[in-house]
């Protein structure tokens, strides 16, 4: 068959979401009250259909056989499934967001008084359409096999979120956040696009398999990689790290998270992050045809980003009084933990003889994929609870004081918050703990002991501000200045996330296996052993026997 058609046949989930987005957009403009309230249902149905498409999709053979990190097909299926599952929960907790806007209420009230419905005043259609489009973009990132494709997919993920942030609350703060997010996002896009251009210049192709072949040829002939390629890769990695909010591209996180409505913040914490990490895995895949020495600059870059993200995120998190900003910094720190897994993955792929595929705890990519879901569930629960508390001024809860005594005022929300936060701390038996075993285990297997020590110390630092949240919910006197209003949909979404966080912790074997399978290179792409540096016979021995300690 035509390769184009082949590729298109893997895109049913994306096409479903796209169609759903168009229908949402139109339905939101309808004069009929029933129809214009329907976009959230349309979004739900199209997500479910997309999930069905993912579940029934035949795993296509990847086009390029040079994938060193993962087989693209398995990765795409896992990530798409995760996006659908967490996306449904996000939809549940975000279902009320457009209705809460004053302009929506005004427009509806005007219609109720016999006036003509003004479609311009209501954001429902747009909100859910952008919601689906962003998810669609994240899914496309997972299936990307070409730099141009990746660029478009990343932008499709991000552009809708700018609008979602701006329209999520009728506060100037939301618009301010959106503008910041947009400009910094545009700058990041420029950075990684420049990087892509340099990679194209160095290798002569935008396709992953061609790039992989180029790198393989270079490394097979014992030549150093062209500096242009390394610079391009570095720029690409740094630019994409905007999506995952890793240092040094983290500056927007706190402001944007603070400005957006709680459910939208949860969306920002999961969807762009997933897209970003999947893109990083895709980008680094071809580069991992090189050996560790040739790729040293990139590994050091990732190492520094990981350490700085963890440390900056957690230390600045300590200084905040605004819970949303705290969770924003926690999001930065968690990106740092996940980068630890990515480093392990790159180390495994570039070290000859290293055991990657099928090896559970040593598999950095699998650990990262697992942790994405773990983090998504926990952070979703926390933001959903925050979104349920409003101050007397009609604003969302922001400070520790606003959520004071939540555990007594609304025990269920308190417990959800408790579970979410404990999972973020990485305290057993929540899923966050299992995720940390996975991440840190993979790093330790490849000798990154110091990285792991830094990571566990950071977990300890992070406990300080997480405990403040718990302390506010349970130890402080209930705050009468705030109202707690829970809609059934939000409650359901948050509850499922919390139960998931516990259940995956005590019975997460299936998800662990799924992540492992997703990260396993396809049989066709068994990594050819890269040639060794001259005279270094030691490194022929399998990685298992190498117990040397790396930073």
């Amino acid at each position: 068959m035509n390769p184009m058609l082949d590729k298109l046949s893997t895109l049913w989930p994306e096409m479903t979401l796209l169609a759903g987005a168009c229908v949402c957009m139109l339905a939101g403009l309808s004069g009929s009250a029933v129809v214009r309230r329907s976009p959230r249902w349309i979004a739900a149905v199209s997500l479910l259909l997309a999930g069905l498409c993912v579940a029934t999709s035949s795993v296509a053979e990847p086009r390029h056989t040079g994938a060193a990190l993962v087989g693209v097909a398995g990765l795409a299926v896992y990530v798409k499934m995760a996006i659908v599952a967490v996306g449904l929960l996000l939809l549940l907790i975000a279902s009320q967001v457009p209705d809460r806007l004053r302009q929506t209420q005004d427009a509806e009230a005007a219609t109720g008084r016999g006036g003509v419905f003004d479609p311009a005043g209501v954001m429902r259609g747009e909100f859910f359409a952008f919601f689906l489009l962003s998810l669609c973009g994240a899914m496309l990132c997972a299936g990307a096999e070409d730099l141009v494709w990746l660029f478009l997919a990343l932008e499709l993920t991000s552009l809708p979120t700018y609008v979602m942030v701006a329209t999520s609350r009728d506060r100037a703060g939301a618009q301010e956040s959106a503008v910041k997010y947009f400009f910094l996002g545009a700058m990041a896009a420029a950075v990684f696009l420049y990087g892509f251009a340099l990679i194209y210049g160095a290798t002569g192709s935008t396709q992953y398999d061609q790039i992989a072949a180029f790198v393989h040829a270079q490394s097979a002939s014992g030549q150093a990689l062209p500096p242009l390629f390394i610079v391009g890769l570095v720029l690409a990695v740094v630019g994409v790290s905007f999506k995952i909010a890793a240092v040094p591209m983290h500056f927007y996180a706190a402001d944007v998270y603070q400005g957006a409505a709680g459910p939208v913040t949860a969306f920002l914490a999961f969807v762009p992050k997933t897209a970003g990490f999947v893109s990083l895995i895709g980008l680094l895949g071809p580069a991992c045809q090189a050996n560790a020495e040739q790729l040293q600059p990139v590994i050091w870059l990732l190492w520094i980003m990981a350490v700085l993200s963890m440390t900056v995120g957690n230390t600045l998190g300590l200084l905040q009084h605004n819970v949303k900003r705290v969770l924003a910094y926690s999001s930065i720190a968690h990106s740092g933990y996940m980068l630890v897994g990515l480093i392990a993955a790159v180390a495994a792929a570039t070290t000859p003889g290293a055991v990657t595929a099928g090896e559970h705890l040593g598999n950095g990519v699998a650990a990262l994929l697992f942790y994405l879901v773990a983090y998504g569930l926990a952070t979703l629960g926390a933001f959903a609870v925050l979104g349920c508390v409003t101050t007397d001024q009609g604003d969302e809860a922001q400070t520790y004081d606003d959520i004071a005594g939540l555990g007594q005022r609304h025990p269920l929300l308190g417990v959800i918050m408790l579970i979410s936060v404990l999972s973020l701390v990485g305290l057993p038996p929540m899923v966050g703990f299992l995720g940390k075993i996975y991440l840190f285990g993979s790093a330790i297997q490849h000798g990154y002991i110091w990285l792991v020590i830094i990571a566990v110390l950071n977990s300890a630092i992070s406990a300080v501000y997480y405990l403040r949240i718990i302390g506010a919910c349970y130890f402080a006197k209930p705050n009468d200045q705030t109202q707690v209003a829970v809609s059934p949909a939000v409650q359901l979404g948050a509850l499922v996330a919390a139960v998931g966080a516990v259940m995956l912790g005590v019975a997460g074997g299936r998800l662990v296996d799924a992540a492992r399978d997703a990260a396993a290179p396809p049989d066709a792409a068994v990594v050819e052993t890269a040639p060794l540096p001259d005279g270094d016979a030691e490194s022929w021995s399998p990685q298992w026997a190498d117990t040397s300690v790396k930073w």
């Binding site: 940390k436 996975y438 002991i449």
Partner: protein, 567 residues
């Protein structure tokens, strides 16, 4: 057998866990009673387990599950196969006794809390039961990560118990407690992963089974073992707490509600010593042998230093809290003597300390409920007005000091003997220095008892004068409004007193049941020591005398190998 005792261990963890969660569905009035019932059921199950463990196998009374020193009643619940993780349960004598200590203390804690906890009752008892589940889980886990999960999870209930129900500085105390111990145990986590990785690199398979890891880890070099030992100490020494990382303890103990203090002193501190015993000794024998004198020095310094601190305390509860640090120093000292006597003494000490210090905290709690103060300067001569309370207070103080005939003496004496006998590791100096700690302990405890229980009568003014807390029919002279212990309170303290007396008079059944398991734990370190130029002298002779073991008495008391070694 008609049933499988293997199912009982998961049940031991599940009963308090499910019971605790189920409390949230019950109406507030019945919650304390139900919580008490759950703990009694757990106690009953643990007693059944103990009886089964003592049951002769194949009709031979000398052969029980305990006599081999191996794990028994093992069972597995799969968890994450890919990581080699499972919820696996198993017992040996050490865990069995500590489980019994836990399950025996919990009903008493519940009883002792009925009148102290008036608000947010449901949360209090739910957290206590979850705490019990986690503590039992720690002792019965044979999977390292399962152990770690329970070990870590104990922080959460206690964080809430201190933070919600503590006294004035409770928020600070809760956070300091959590962060201090959490930081340490995160480092332990890294060490644990390292050991697991080392095992995987040797065998090619990930596993977290404690026995397997211990076997594999012994192959590590001294440098690797030293790092692992440091990582283990980071978590466990903080928990014990060993000087100089003991500073979280006085605050947490003093601020916690009585129930929390009892659990903290009674069981939670033992998680630290248990962790050292279970992991440091078998996994890092070379490093343990090399650094045992250093650790023991810290223990001895801790014994003396905190004993001096106790002497100047004005708050009774704080005094008892600091005395815990001092006492646990003996436990660590005995453990790092690295011989059977010392380690058995350490285990015995864990149980003794749990009983006597737990009881002392209960006594102090009863005083606090009546007078809302713990300051020594504001009370005195309480024996005149509360004779029953005074009896218990003096009794447990003496047990804690180590009066011969009560339990504290046996543990303390054996710990010192262990250190004394361990010429190849520690030696006389440690025992003598620690012996001074016993004298100091007698001084500060008796000083406190003399001030509070005896001496001129001084009844603290109660803070809110309008409602005298305990109007009662009993009159004791002019202090009519001070009520002595009621039946519930006596019921709370009596079992502990009986336990102290029994373990003081008949320690042999406990000690001889411990011996096989302890021998197994000490073996790697002893092998390392045997490889050293100056081997052990007469450890085995003394062991035989102390452990009145019928098989050895009638056979050959001296191991020919050891004897040859000595001469």
């Amino acid at each position: 057998m008609m049933y499988s005792p293997d199912q009982l261990l998961p049940l031991l963890v599940l009963i308090p866990l499910v019971g605790g969660l189920a409390l949230s569905l019950l109406p507030n009035q019945v919650v304390p009673a139900m919580a008490f019932v759950w703990t009694v059921v757990t106690l009953a199950v643990s007693v059944v387990v103990a009886c089964l463990a003592y049951q002769p196998i194949d009709g031979n009374p000398a052969v029980t599950f305990l006599s081999s020193g191996d794990l028994f009643f093992e069972s597995f619940i799969p968890w994450v196969d890919g990581f080699g993780l499972s919820f696996s349960f198993g017992l040996d004598a050490i865990s069995l006794w500590l489980v019994l200590l836990t399950t025996a203390l919990m009903p008493l804690v519940m009883l002792g809390s009925f009148s102290a906890i008036k608000h947010r009752v449901k949360e209090y008892y739910t957290w206590l039961l979850l705490l019990e589940a986690a503590m039992i889980g720690t002792f019965v886990a044979t999977d390292l990560i399962f152990f770690y999960i329970c070990f870590e999870f104990t922080l959460v209930p206690l964080f809430f118990l201190i933070g919600i129900f503590g006294s004035t500085q409770r928020l600070k105390a809760a956070k300091v407690f959590f962060l201090y111990t959490f930081t340490g145990s995160m480092l332990t986590f890294a060490g644990v992963l390292y050991v697991a990785w080392f095992n995987a690199s040797q065998t090619g398979l990930w596993s977290f089974e404690i026995a397997q890891l211990a076997r594999a880890a012994q192959a590590m070099s001294l440098e690797q073992q030293t790092w692992v030992l440091l990582a283990l100490l980071a978590g466990f020494a903080v928990k014990v707490p060993l000087f100089p990382v003991h500073t979280w303890l006085p605050l947490a103990h003093t601020e916690a509600p009585t129930g929390g203090s009892v659990i903290l002193a009674g069981v939670l501190l033992k998680l630290g010593t248990y962790g050292l015993l279970r992991f440091a000794l078998p996994m890092t024998p070379i490093a343990t042998v090399v650094y045992a004198p250093t650790i023991a020095t810290f223990a001895v310094v801790g014994i003396l230093y905190t004993a001096l601190i106790c002497w100047v305390q004005k708050d009774v509860k704080k005094l008892i809290a600091y005395s815990s640090v001092s006492h646990l120093g003996f436990c660590v000292l005995g453990m790092f003597a690295l011989n059977t006597i010392g380690v058995s003494a350490a285990v015995m000490y864990m149980i003794n300390h749990g009983l006597s210090t737990g009881a002392l905290f209960l006594c102090i709690g009863m005083i606090y409920e009546r007078f809302h103060t713990r300051e020594m300067a504001r009370m005195g001569g309480l024996a005149r007005v509360m004779p029953i309370w005074a009896f218990f207070m003096v009794f447990f103080s003496l047990a804690s000091v180590g009066l011969p005939g009560l339990n504290g003496f046996v543990g303390e004496f054996l710990a010192l003997l262990g250190a004394f006998m361990a010429r190849d590791v520690l030696g006389v100096g440690y025992a003598v220095a620690a012996g001074f700690g016993m004298i100091l302990a007698a001084i500060y405890i008796l000083y406190m008892v003399g001030k509070v229980v005896f001496g001129p009568v001084l009844i603290p003014e109660h803070d809110d004068q309008h409602q005298p807390p305990y109007p009662s029919g009993h009159t004791h002279g002019k202090h009519a409004h001070v009520r002595d212990l009621n039946a519930r309170e006596i019921m709370t303290l009596t079992p502990l007193a009986v336990g102290c007396l029994l373990l003081g008079l008949f320690p042999t059944p406990l000690l001889s049941s411990l011996k096989p398991a302890v021998d197994k734990l000490v073996e790697p370190a002893r092998l390392v020591l045997a490889g050293r130029p100056h081997g052990e002298a007469t450890i085995d002779e003394v062991t035989t005398i102390i452990f009145i073991d019928p098989t050895v008495q009638h056979g050959h008391p001296q191991d020919p190998d050891a004897a040859r070694h000595g001469h």
